[in-house]
Structure formats: C-alpha cells, structure tokens
Symmetry: C2
Subunit: 437 residues, 2 copies
C-alpha cells in the first residue's frame, strides 16, 4: 500500500514519541523535519486568545525557510503568559540546536544524492522552526520532559510511513483514530533545468500529504485545528499561502463540531521543492492542479475529522443555495450544522426537517418563506414553504447513512455555500463532562 | 398559600383541558379569558419562519381590547401554509363565538359587582382573541379536536388557582414541571376617582402573575417561548408594551438553552385594569414600580425555565463586564453560555475556566488579553491574562451548585451584560434524539 503519511513527499522526516505530558503513556511529542528547508505557509486561529505556540509560529512562518515543526499534545500552552511564550521559543531553539548538532548524520543527509544538497544549512536558527501545541488550557508546559522528548524524537527521525504515523499519533487528543491523507498528481509540460544543459519538457509527480488532529472545539470560518501538510512541490511562498488559504477555507473551515474554534488552531504546509518540478511562480495550470489537489486533500481530512468528532457516529453536509449573498449562505449553513436539535435528530435517524427550517429561519439571513425548500439527499421534504409528501422510511434511511446532505434553498437569490457537521450524541457529553481540569 | 396562578390578578378566568392532540392524554389546550377586556401587549419570535398563530396574533394584538387567549400544545401549526393561518383564525373565532354565547352566564359576569361592569361587550370578535401554539412543526392541526377542546375549556373556565395551574399544564411540552410566578405590590399615592365624588389618595394592591412553557429551542435577543402574563393594573397599551419589552429583554431573552429560538415564541401580557388604580399613563413612579415588578417576575420565570431545560441539572449566569460596548458584552455572554464545552464542564462540576476564556476569545468582541479576568462566584480563577491560584475543591463546589455566576472581565471598557444558561447533559441528547417527527 502506498504511504499516506506526511513522510510520503520527498524531503521529509518525522517522528512521534512519548515524552511524559500525557499520563496515559500515549505519544505526545511530534517532529517534522525538512533537512533542505521548506517554503512554508500557515493559517492560524482567529480566536483573540491565542496559545503561545500560535504567537511564536506567526512570527517564525515569515522566515524564508522552515526546517522543522515541533508539536506537543496534552497541553495547549495557552493562557500561560510570558513563560508560555519563552517555552514555545525554547521548543523551537531546542529543535534547531539538535538539528545543527545532527547535520552531518546520515539522517539529515538522507537526500544527499539530490543535486540541491548544497542548500542544507550549516546552522538551524529558532526562527526556522515552527511550533504547535494542543491540549488543556492554562497549564505551564513541563519543559524538562519536552526538551528530553525533542531529543528522543530527533533520534528517531525517519522518512518511513511508520514515522509519519507516529507523528500523527503524537498530535492526537480525544481523536479515536489517526487522520492522514495523500494526493499524487502529475504536472505536465513542466520545464526542467537539468544541470546546466538545455531545458526540456518532462512530467513530474507531485505528492501532497496531510494529517490533522481534532475532535472538538472546531468551527468554520475561523481556522482549523492542528493540521500539517507536506509536499515536494516547488512553489513560491505567496502561491503556497494562497493555495493553503483556499484549501482550508473550503474544507476544515467548513467544518463545525461545536461551533467554537480553539486558542491553538494552526494549519501548516511545508513544500520541500524536491519533486523536481520547475517552481510554480504564477497562477498557471500547474498551480491550479496543485491548488485543486491540496483542496481535495483538505476536504478528505475535514471529513475524517467530522466522522471522528467527539461522540460522533455520523456526519452531514449542509448545502444552502438560493441565498442573496454567499455570506448569507455560509451563515445559514453554519446555523443549521450547529443547531443542537438538528444534530440530535441526525443522531436519532430522524428526518426532522422542521428543525432544519427553524434553524434557517433564525439564522438572520434573507429568505423567501414561500419559496423555501429542503431536501435530504434527493428526497424533497419541504417545498415552497410547506411540508412535502415523502416516504418517511426512505428519508429515515438517508439520515442514518454515514454521511448525507441536507440542501436548503432559501429562495432569495442565487448564492450558495456549504458546511460540514456531525451528530450530537450522549458520548460528546460524556467525553466533555468527564474531562477534568 | 397565596395563589401564584395567572388567575391571581382580578378579572381573569382560565382553564386547561385535554382535547386529543397529545397522545399521552395530558392537557393540551388552554384558555385565558378576561370578560371585561384587557389591554394587551406582546413580543414575538424574530425567527423569519413564524407559526400561523404568531402571524395571526401579531395582527390581533393591535385590537384595543383582548378578551381571551387560546393556546394549544403538541402541535406548532408552523410551516402549515394557508390552511394553518385559517386554522389559527378559526381558533380565535371559535373562542369568540363561545364567549358571545356565554356572555350572560355566571362566569362571564363574575366581576358583576365591579362598577365597570358596563364595559362587558355584547359581542366578542375573532380579532379580540389571541392565539398561540407550541409543539411539532409541519403538521396540520386536528381542528375538530381543537374546536371541541375550546368548548370543553370554555365550560371549565374558573378564577381558581387550580384553573390557572391547568392552563399552565396545558401549554407544557417537554417541561417536567409547571412554571408559575406572581408578584404583588402597592402603588402608593394613587389618585382614585370614586364614582363622581372628589378624588382621594389611596393605596392599591397590584397583582402580576405569569406562566411559561419551554425547555428547548430557547435563545436570547430574539424572543422567548410561550409566556402568558396577567395583571389587574390599569395601564395604557404603549406603557404596557414598553414594560413587557423591558422585562422580557432582561429575563427570558437573556436565557439560552440551545442557542435557537423557535418559530412560535410568544409572550403576551393582559391587563384587566380591575385593581382600581388610577391608570398608569406616564413614566411616573407607579409605572416604574410596575415595570420593576414585571421584570422581577419574568426573571423568576426565566430561572425556572433554565432549571427545567431539556436534560438540565443546573443553571448558571454569565456576567460579562469590562466590554467596550453593551452589544459586545451581550455577545460574549451568549457565546460563553452557548458553548457546549462550557455547558458540559458545568454538567461535570468542573471549574474549567479555559473553556470560558476560549469562548470569550472566539466571540468576536474587543478584549484586552492582558487584563482579561474570570471569576466563578467569588473565586478568581483567571487574572490579567493568566491562570490564578485558587482552591480547586472550592471552585468545583461553586460549579456544582444549582446556580452559580461566571463573571468575565474583558478589560476593554466599562459596558456589561449578562446571560442565563444551563448545563448540557446526556439527557438533552436522549430527549432530542428520541423525539421523532
């Protein structure tokens, strides 16, 4: 089976270890390293209270090259004041220092055959490392454990699929399963400079791989959760950022589990440039292919997150069309996906269109009551402002699927948007009432 | 014990019967009658999809006098098209017709000793009757059952406390207990015209009584649920409307159970004017006393609703201060009260301030991270942007109370507002996943 780990694209090493933050003994510290340096882009939470890691990574991501990402789970390092900021910087510095020490080891030279080997730096600086944290808010990080953990992870770095999976496991909190996805595609007609000889046309395979953690505190239109994406495409920083923003905006940002974003949401993409393609520098067809594949990968991750949301047993997509503006469509879709009674009805397998219509009506968007319609997959349950006749048993089966689509036509225009949601179960309450500070 | 039923103020009769909408055999049709006619005011849902009853009552409440309110539970008569509207009008017409037929019976003459007896009309028109419905959306009302139910209720009309309680029971849906409240106060220095003799100063006792139903689909800043208030105060329609708007705005509209208002929310106040006070025609001290008592009564009802919310085991008040605007304070308070993770933490008795701070941060309001503070009752758990040292056991006990207050200081100004919320339990999910269309 082809690897779907973040180590799948060329140029990336990863590791996941247990350093002692999680009392369960599960993996809680992960490392991604790109020895040759990666072009990086990121999106962050728009919560006004941000974790120290977000604060630090926002600055570091401006660096020309990123060589590593260090992540811990089990502790959010949020609301931890100046000490929290210093700790986040120390995590970057510790990682950079270990990489500098190890620069001549086999691992960090793993891509030695690549002609670009000369690009490997002699010194890794803290600002070339990104950091992310997830877990409980308001507790200081156990820095001795983390420093030892970084060393342990650095020693375990590998480009194997298992190493990528270990990283994924190390970022999990209440997730019940790791979430990974990969996309491979060919950029056709790409001009390659082969040493100093004349350019020639050749196809190159590009790989993009991603992983996310996240099961609660997830809401769209803000940011995401923790999400790490690697690719071997060569692409400029502005275009990488543009493609990431587009992809996250149409995937993770469309997902709502409980209507709230966390203080730590971060999505990072690293591009090693080792696929050999001529760097993507404009919105040419290769860019569109790259952006499309990235969006598709993020959509895959968003669905995996919805299905593994805290207590979730199934997910759904809310499509709102006939809106007077796209913002209205997004607002209505989100209101429906967040409405606890809709989420409970999905949990109970009930085609309860009344709750969907009620949520649309209270979303504060323009709608034409006499044209309002609603479908559950292909079954029309409400048409032009009144209940439609439909087979209740078939509609119940639609709702009981692992995933179904509720389509609401507001009858007020031609704009549309969508949102992903999941059911609300007693399991969600159990997880979140029992999880103690 | 003094009655706290809606029949407590002078001039009101009530009844509650089972007409056959609820399969359980529980009461499902209620009637309030004010034979002499009441000055009325109402607030309605701001959901753009409104029930037929809301549509009809919005018009009828403009009438100079209201003689009756007819209410059914078990069926919302929402999303029922033109037939629904006709059915709501038929409910008013049926009630008016029965009152006209019964106008010379003992009951409708019950206040005969009152000198204002001559005001009793010879004919009751449909527009002098208000209607409200609550229950499932999208089903047509069983009109034959309802017509028979109105006749049955009319025959049972009484000014007893039991009749008021029957009415309250008839409007319940998933409520586990009836919600009633009463306030009595004296209007001092009120000039009374006694027949045609000279005016003299005398005190008059005013009674206000109210009842609500409601356990889910409740959100503030929109409208309420079903709420019926009676008073014997004499007061003009504009001042009655003003006092109701103020009272609901600071009580029921501050309550959020699941962040959504229903299609049927309605709060109605009827003033019989039989207390004998000189009519309140301006914002004089008597008006202020009346408005204050009404607000206090509505606050009482809101708390009863919070504690009886679907699956709720306890309630909480969120006070947000230090906001740059009152709107920001209200928005933040509501975001905190609606955040499922906060609700789950309250359910679990966990002083999880991290979730409160996180909700405040994602509310989209102005805040000063370095001045942000949070208290649970009197215990400071977060001060100036960092975790405070506090006794975890004491804080846990605060959260486990039937009601506690979370105070968040945004550190961004001097405006404040509040919101009521309740915990989220597996019971909520059970009720709403099992309730089938």
């Amino acid at each position: 089976m082809t690897s779907n780990a973040i180590t799948a694209p060329k140029g990336f090493l990863a590791a996941g270890v247990h350093c002692g933050i999680k009392e369960s003994g599960k993996l809680d510290l992960g490392l991604i390293v790109c020895p040759k340096g990666a072009t990086a882009a990121a999106v962050f939470t728009t919560n006004k209270i941000v974790s120290a890691a977000v604060d630090v990574s926002k600055k570091h991501v401006k660096s020309r090259k990123i060589y590593a990402v260090v992540v811990n789970s089990g502790n959010a390092n949020a609301c931890t004041g100046k000490k929290g900021i210093n700790d986040a910087i120390t995590m970057c510095a510790g990682t950079a220092s270990l990489l500098t020490q190890a620069r001549d080891t086999r691992l960090l030279r793993f891509a030695r055959n690549d002609k670009a080997d000369g690009r490997r730096p002699t010194h890794y600086a803290p600002r070339n490392v990104l950091v992310a944290s997830t877990g409980i808010i308001g507790h200081q990080l156990p820095m001795e454990k983390i420093k030892a953990g970084i060393a342990k992870a650095a020693a375990k770095l590998s480009d194997s699929a298992q190493a990528g999976l270990d990283f994924t496991k190390a970022i999990m909190t209440t997730d019940t399963r790791p979430k990974q996805a990969v996309r491979r595609f060919t950029i056709a007609d790409c001009q390659l400079k082969i040493e100093n000889r004349k350019s020639k046309i050749e196809n190159r395979i590009i790989t993009i791989a991603g992983t996310t953690k996240g099961a609660g505190m997830i809401a769209p239109n803000m940011a995401t959760t923790l999400c790490f994406i690697t690719t071997d495409a060569a692409i400029t920083k502005p275009l990488l950022a543009k493609a990431l923003k587009y992809a996250i905006g149409n995937s993770l940002n469309k997902l709502t589990v409980d209507g709230h974003q966390s203080t730590n949401d971060t999505a990072i993409i690293l591009a090693s440039g080792l696929a050999g393609n001529r760097p993507i520098v404009s919105q040419c067809p290769p860019y569109k292919k790259f952006a499309g594949a990235l969006a598709d990968l993020c959509d895959d991750l968003a669905r995996q997150m919805a299905l593994d949301a805290e207590g979730a047993t199934r997910m759904f997509k809310v499509v709102v069309k006939g809106a007077s503006t796209k913002a209205d469509a997004a607002k209505a879709a989100r209101a429906i996906a967040n409405f606890p009674l809709v989420k409970c009805a999905v949990h109970g397998g009930d085609p309860n269109w009344g709750r969907i219509i009620c949520a649309a009506g209270s979303a504060g968007v323009k709608l034409n009551v006499n044209k309002l319609s609603c479908k559950l997959d292909a079954i029309t349950v409400f048409r032009n402002g009144a209940a439609a006749k439909f087979d209740r048993e078939s509609a119940g089966k639609v709702v009981l699927q692992t995933e179904h689509t509720m389509t609401v036509d507001l009858g007020a225009g031609s704009a549309s948007d969508f949102c992903y949601g999941c059911d609300l179960s007693a399991g969600y309450v159990r997880i979140n009432a029992e999880y103690h500070t």
